[in-house]
Amino acid sequence: MKRLLTGNEAIALGAYEAGVTVASAYPGTPSTEILENIALYKEIYSEWTPNEKVALEVAIGASIAGARSLAAMKHVGVNVAADPLFTFSYTGVNGGCVLISADDPGMHSSQNEQDNRYYAKFAKIPMLEPSDSQEAKDFVKIAYDISEEYDSPVLLRLTTRVCHGKGLVEAGERKEVGIKEYKKDIAKYVATPANAKKRRILIEDRFVKLEELSNNSELNKIEWNDKKIGVITSGVAYQYAKEVFGDNVSYLKLGFTYPIPKAKIKEFAEQIEKIYVIEELEPYLEDEIRSMGIKVVGKDVIPAVGELNPDILAEILLGTKPEKVDISPEKIVGRPPTMCAGCPHRGLFYVLSKKKNVAITGDIGCYTLGSAPPLESMDTTICMGASISAGHGFTKAFEKGGIDKKVFGVIGDSTFFHSGITGLLNVIYNRGNVATIILDNRITGMTGHQDNPGTGYTLSGDVTEHIDIEKICEAIGVKNIAVVNPLDLKETEEAINKAVNTKEPMVIITKMPCVLKKSPTEEIKEYKLNERVKCVVDREKCRKCKMCLKAGCPAISFDANIGSIIDESMCVGCDVCLQICPFKAIVKVGE
């Protein structure tokens, strides 16, 4: 029976059917659900790792030890995992290994839209690009066969629309492949210069063989129709092209895109009058095809920026624009994402927003919303972990420039485990004085509540050691540590003031579970989450000063005639607005 699956669910099913036994990942949109779904199969050991480098290294170790293994991550995660990837290309595999890169054209939930297809070329490893859920499943299985036969990790490159788009998928049976025999092989797996030099030559031989495979692969298929126009395409762009041109043009649909099938491209091009190369983001295929001396229409007319869609292709390549209904722009107000009502980050950012003469280096997570109005309490966001290390750079530059400005690095709990610890180590080692704020909301929030080393639970929900952030900071050598409840504005402000007034490095840990988290019983007790009482505005006391609106809480609205209004269905009783109101007009329900 066919099932409607997202690309991510299909990848998990493909991994199951391919006999995968070890899988690892760090969550990141649009890749997160791959491991969440793999975790449902008892036959596969799966885990969240602290970061993508660790995830890939776990998969590499498992592969060398004989397991079919998988590591999944978002596009920028591959940057973090790039170090082991490039050498793994040299050592090759024992059990097959597939690295899944989920790219995000259009930046739905990312800080850039890098095209990770170049990683395949850069690391010299084969790459497959599915265009829908059924292919996502099928290609995973094919990837394992290629990986083992050609002794190489395989890059499976997805994009947001493939990851989160749903399509019908035919499920199959799991092929138990077991764990292959492990043989110690120093010349293969110990990448000393002497060994790696020999492996380096093998990679070039492997490339030649893989190119032959690509030329003969059914993943690269020609659909002959009229030969005036031929479309060369890959990934979800194939679906868009089919939507626009139907059966009126011929197609070379590429699913095996590194090495590219030069012979097949030549065969196709020789019979076509005009070739369109339709691909999302960079001219990856186009540049390769042009270098073969073939004339094509590509990024000279099709945008490299953002996602493609059938409308863009139809307008540019057919000159057709759909009939549409006009919107009335005056009747639309933007709806930017906001911190949730009761979000523990709100208290901290409210306090920070009151501080003048500070620079705040931010990080990747829900708290990046602290940069949005009305809080606007963030100066930079670069990548996972950069808050602390870039903050340290700020302090050193300010010192050199004689600028007296306090620098705060703001980072989440999961991001701290990911790559904040090394940054903090650097601050202490190099006598910096950035004040690090670790927003410990007891979960990985942004990606939809995944456990991490600080939560005390694993991906499969088993109880494990709970790693204490405070103790890590102590061990690194931080002497000033304050643990505060970020919803207690006074306590939070005292800690911030202390940090402003010290020349020593300091860590403030704001500890309160994410308001959307389904907290375990002990956590509900510890943080008294079940004792919260909603807030309400005392009409007689409200003087319409709008101070409470500065918290940017979605549960509070303002009416010029009535004053501030708290939506009872949204309020969770976090009390931030109650503490802000200068007229004590916000009270607890029932008081």
């Binding site: 949109t29 739905h108 629309r161 399509g167 006009d326 107000v333 709806r335 930017p336 994402p337 979605p554």
Partner: protein, 192 residues
């Protein structure tokens, strides 16, 4: 490709669009259609504008719906209907929940929530408006507005012959089956 129908769900994070679209797609698959569906996760869920796109027919390629291509838009919030209306075919139908959720700039008092949206939409396209939030409140659970909207959508699409009640029974938790079946029928009846 001409047989492919496009349904666009729009609204605000947390309104239950995902469940409603899941039920619709399940029913369509059971009826033998090829179905593709697209949604975007991540940032969009933090109170932002949310869409789910469903395309069905004999063979579907693109998972996303283009401008001027939707046969029907079902909007769980009225301003979201205006935001996405250019995706509707000029001859298409709009089913809109006459219900407002104020976005951040309105909450902070910077701008007012626009007035006369539903009237404006009615001037533009074939519009069916209903107050699903109020109907859901009367039914006893505001959260059932998604299934009321689904009932209205299915009636408006004219795909009443599929056994939707058994799909709903499969997709919602046991204790919510009764109220959701009631909600579904309320939605159906609200469309003539």
């Amino acid at each position: 490709m001409s047989d492919v129908k496009n349904v666009l769900f729009v609204g605000v994070g947390g309104q239950g669009i995902i469940l409603a679209s899941k039920i619709l797609s399940k029913g369509l698959i059971d009826a033998g259609y090829d179905v593709k569906m697209s949604e975007v996760h991540g940032m969009a869920q933090r109170g932002g504008s949310v869409t789910t796109q469903i395309r069905y027919g004999k063979k579907v390629y693109s998972p996303i719906i283009g401008i001027g291509q939707a046969d029907i838009i079902v909007s769980f919030e009225k301003m979201e209907a205006m935001r996405w209306i250019e995706y509707l075919k000029p001859s298409g139908k709009l089913v809109v929940n006459d219900y407002a959720i104020a976005p951040a700039p309105v909450l902070s008092g910077k701008v007012e929530y626009p007035k006369g949206i539903v009237e404006d939409l009615k001037d533009k396209v074939n519009t069916i408006s209903l107050d699903a939030a109020e109907e859901a409140k009367q039914l006893g659970n505001i959260k059932t507005q998604n299934i009321i909207m689904l009932g209205a959508l299915i009636k408006a699409m004219g795909i009443d012959e599929i056994d939707w009640e058994s799909v709903i029974k499969e997709e919602v938790k046991d204790k919510f089956i009764d109220i959701n079946l009631k909600a579904f029928n309320i939605g159906r009846k609200l469309v003539q």
